[in-house]
């Protein structure tokens, strides 16, 4: 096969037909293409085309002050943007050497686990849609809505949240936010159980997913897979446990692993992770009660924007405000790598700083991009239907794939 897509049937191998799966196909959730050589319904070979929505985020980031890069991270994996936001904040904090108060860590854990739940909700319910069962999807979307209302209460936006700031949160969680989080945990216990009862032992669903796109642990590791799809192959690698960040070491949770890495195992791993996320949030809520309730950011005046009333009435605050906004703050010259457990794998930020207001070079380790590399080789010999549910269970988010 060529290294570039073939768009026509004027190929020498005339016994196969070329099928352009995407970029505007209902199963490619987002914009990406697979040029498949089809032998009837069976895929002979395929070439993945990516870059349809490449927006050069890494380059744009080189020209933006640190706090303005957060909105770019929103648009990577937009199903769980808070994790990206927090990951970026923590990277910069690592660069600046800021230690965070425990309370901020726990607040971040709550937000990140909520985001993980929304991402898994989307992935698993869309897997249901791709096998033809739309109803589970509409059930689960109600719970995603509940999480989005929590985001709204905390930061005002829903999908691309831009939540938190470098050094903490822009404001404290209010009582309504805590009520909504508690209420969500209560209703989601019921909802997730219902969802599992719809799918986990549904004969048609199991037949469709069991044994489809099996991946061995060796193959997964050799392709640098991370996240739920790696854990589905039986490897218990989770950044939250291996390299704890944001005080994840304080929490008691399990890392679910699958058996043979097929679509069904990935589905079950994601479901189980949602249960574990709920456990973590419950623990975090209990831990928060023991912390002083007015701390929501670290004491780093040189990097954390002061509140407006202080800017108007307090000279120091005005100076810091001016310096932060104008990018006059000194930053250390260093190289930093920080990784968080994103919803579909290890989301890393590799930051090289030359002491200025914006990164010298910033690289996102985007799990979708790395996980997706195996898609075309995996698809060889598969039926079209299997290739499609394999794609949805990889949870490839076009924004993160193309960055």
């Amino acid at each position: 096969m060529h290294n570039h897509p073939v768009y026509t049937d004027n190929d020498p191998q005339t016994e196969y037909s070329t099928l352009n799966l995407g970029p505007t196909h209902p199963a490619t959730h987002g914009v990406f293409q697979n040029v498949l050589q089809m032998d009837g319904e069976r895929i002979v070979s395929g070439v993945s085309t990516i870059g349809y929505i490449h927006r050069a985020f890494e380059k744009i980031a080189e020209h933006r002050p640190y706090y303005q890069i957060t909105p770019l991270t929103d648009r990577l994996n937009y199903c769980s943007s808070p994790i990206n936001n927090m990951g970026w904040h923590m990277t910069v904090e690592k660069l600046l050497g800021i230690t965070m108060p425990k309370r901020v860590d726990y607040m971040r854990v709550i937000i990140m686990e909520l985001a993980r739940i929304t991402d898994h909700i989307v992935c698993n319910s869309i897997l249901g849609v791709d096998t033809g069962a739309l109803t589970g999807f509409t059930y689960m979307m109600q719970y995603r809505e509940a999480v989005y209302e929590i985001y709204e209460e905390i930061c005002g936006s829903r999908l691309t949240t831009n939540i938190g700031r470098i050094g903490g949160f822009e404001r404290n969680f209010n009582k309504i936010a805590f009520d909504k989080i508690r209420n969500f945990l209560k209703i989601f216990h019921v909802g997730l159980k219902e969802f599992e009862s719809l799918f986990n032992r549904n004969r048609i669903f199991v037949d469709r997913t069991r044994g489809v796109a099996e991946v061995t642990a060796e193959a997964a590791l050799s392709y640098s897979w991370t996240g739920p799809i790696l854990r589905a192959t039986g490897v218990d690698y989770d950044v939250r446990a291996m390299e704890p960040y944001s005080s994840y070491e304080d929490f008691d949770f399990e890392i679910p692993v699958g058996d043979n890495g097929d679509v069904y195992a990935r589905f079950l791993v994601r479901n189980e992770e949602m249960w574990q996320s709920m456990r973590i949030i419950e623990q975090a809520l209990t831990k928060l009660e023991k912390e002083p309730s007015d701390i929501f950011h670290a004491d780093v005046p040189a990097f954390y924007l002061p509140p407006k009333e202080e800017v108007y009435n307090n000279m120091e605050a005005l100076i810091y405000h001016f310096k932060i906004v104008m990018g006059e703050v000194e930053t250390p010259t260093a190289e930093v790598y920080h990784a968080v457990e994103g919803a579909n794998g290890e989301l890393g930020f590799y930051l090289i700083n030359d002491g200025g207001r914006s990164p010298y070079r910033l690289h996102f380790r985007r799990p979708s991009f790395i996980n997706y590399q195996m898609y075309a080789p995996m698809s060889q010999g598969m039926l079209l239907s299997d290739a499609i549910i394999n794609m949805s269970s990889l949870n490839v988010i076009a924004g993160e794939l193309d960055a």
Partner: protein, 343 residues
């Protein structure tokens, strides 16, 4: 045949035609409302009270849409496809007995357009022709997704027609006739065929799902794999015809299932009701009973669609050839043996 009789027949044809079209129209509305009910949604509620005018609005939209025939399509066949689909769907209702003979103003009117003595074969023939509409449309579109959908539709319908036919043979052993009118009469009161042929009914039901391309057998048009399947390239009323044909087919197969297995217009205590209501209203009440049963089946079709996922292509074939056909043959043997020993 007298002129009056021909007039009555024409009226009956018009009524049944009208009923099946209206039922198909409101099935689209019912499907959306029922889906909404299953999925905690509201469903269509803008056009008229409770969205009751939605099918009319949809119909008007379909007629007013721009007619697009793709450049590389075969124009003639592209139009023939949906026409065949709707035609075969509409003519299948001719042999279905909708009730006992009604006496109006001293005239006896049979509530069946025609009681031909090979009614079941007629329905089979017409339904088999229906797949041509899908195949021709899918092929003429000159689109790979359409072609895949058409191929799937053809192989699926052919495979499932076999087990459908085999399940009917067992029923014929019980009834001894091919005429739908007689089969309906035999199920007087509570002697419904489903009691004598439960396995046959389940086989027939599964095959009916496959024949009407409904979930879990909606592979010819599964939107997540084949975009729109055989009707990917269709727009305006030609698309409307395909969608309409699907709903009419659903109505017809519900009616066939009710006629063959669920007692047609018969119900326990019908003799008493007939005496009570007289020869005009009694049979009409029977018609209402039949209609109610048909609507229940349509609801069942929709219930299944919004509950379970769909099969993969090879699993569908496995089910058809390796499970349903052997089961149907076993059913025939068992039925034959039981009948022989009981006689």
């Amino acid at each position: 045949m007298e002129l009056a009789e021909i007039g009555i027949k024409f009226a009956l044809v018009a009524i049944i035609f009208g009923i099946s079209l209206v039922v198909a129209m409101y099935s689209t509305y019912a499907e959306r409302k029922i889906a909404a009910f299953f999925q905690d949604r509201v469903g269509p509620n803008r056009a008229g009270p409770f969205g009751i005018l939605q099918p009319l609005a949809d119909g008007a939209k379909m007629f007013l849409k721009e007619e697009i025939i793709p450049t590389n399509a075969t124009p003639f066949l592209f139009i023939v496809g949906p026409s065949l689909a709707i035609l075969t769907a509409c003519i299948a209702s001719a042999v279905i007995p909708w009730g006992q003979n009604v006496v109006i103003a001293g005239k006896t009117i049979p509530l069946q357009v025609t009681d031909i003595n090979v009614g079941i074969l007629y329905i089979f023939g017409v339904v088999s022709l229906g797949v041509y509409g899908v195949m021709i449309g899918g092929w003429a579109s000159n689109n790979k997704y359409s072609l895949l959908g058409a191929i799937r539709a053809a192989s699926q319908n052919i495979s499932y027609e076999i087990s459908m036919g085999l399940s009917i043979i067992a029923l014929l052993l019980v009834t001894g006739t091919l005429s739908l009118g007689e089969i309906a009469q035999q199920q007087h009161g509570w002697h419904w065929n489903v009691i004598y042929q439960p396995v046959g009914f389940i086989l027939f039901l599964i095959c009916a799902f496959a024949e009407t391309n409904r979930t879990p057998f909606d592979l010819p048009e599964c939107e997540t794999e084949l975009v729109g399947g055989y009707h990917t390239e269709y727009s305006s009323m030609k698309l409307g015809f395909y969608l309409f044909a699907e709903y009419i087919n659903m109505f017809i197969s519900s009616a066939v299932m009710v006629t063959l297995y669920w007692g047609s217009y018969n119900y326990p205590g019908m003799d008493f009701m007939n005496e009570l209501l007289g020869t005009t209203w009694g049979p009409l009440f029977g018609f209402a009973v039949m209609f109610f049963k048909v609507l229940l089946f349509i609801f069942f079709f929709m219930w299944v669609r919004w509950t379970i996922p769909r099969f993969r292509y090879d699993q569908l074939m496995d089910l058809g050839w390796k499970v349903l056909i052997p089961l149907a043959i076993a059913n025939i043997v068992v039925t034959a043996v039981v009948i022989t020993f009981l006689k």
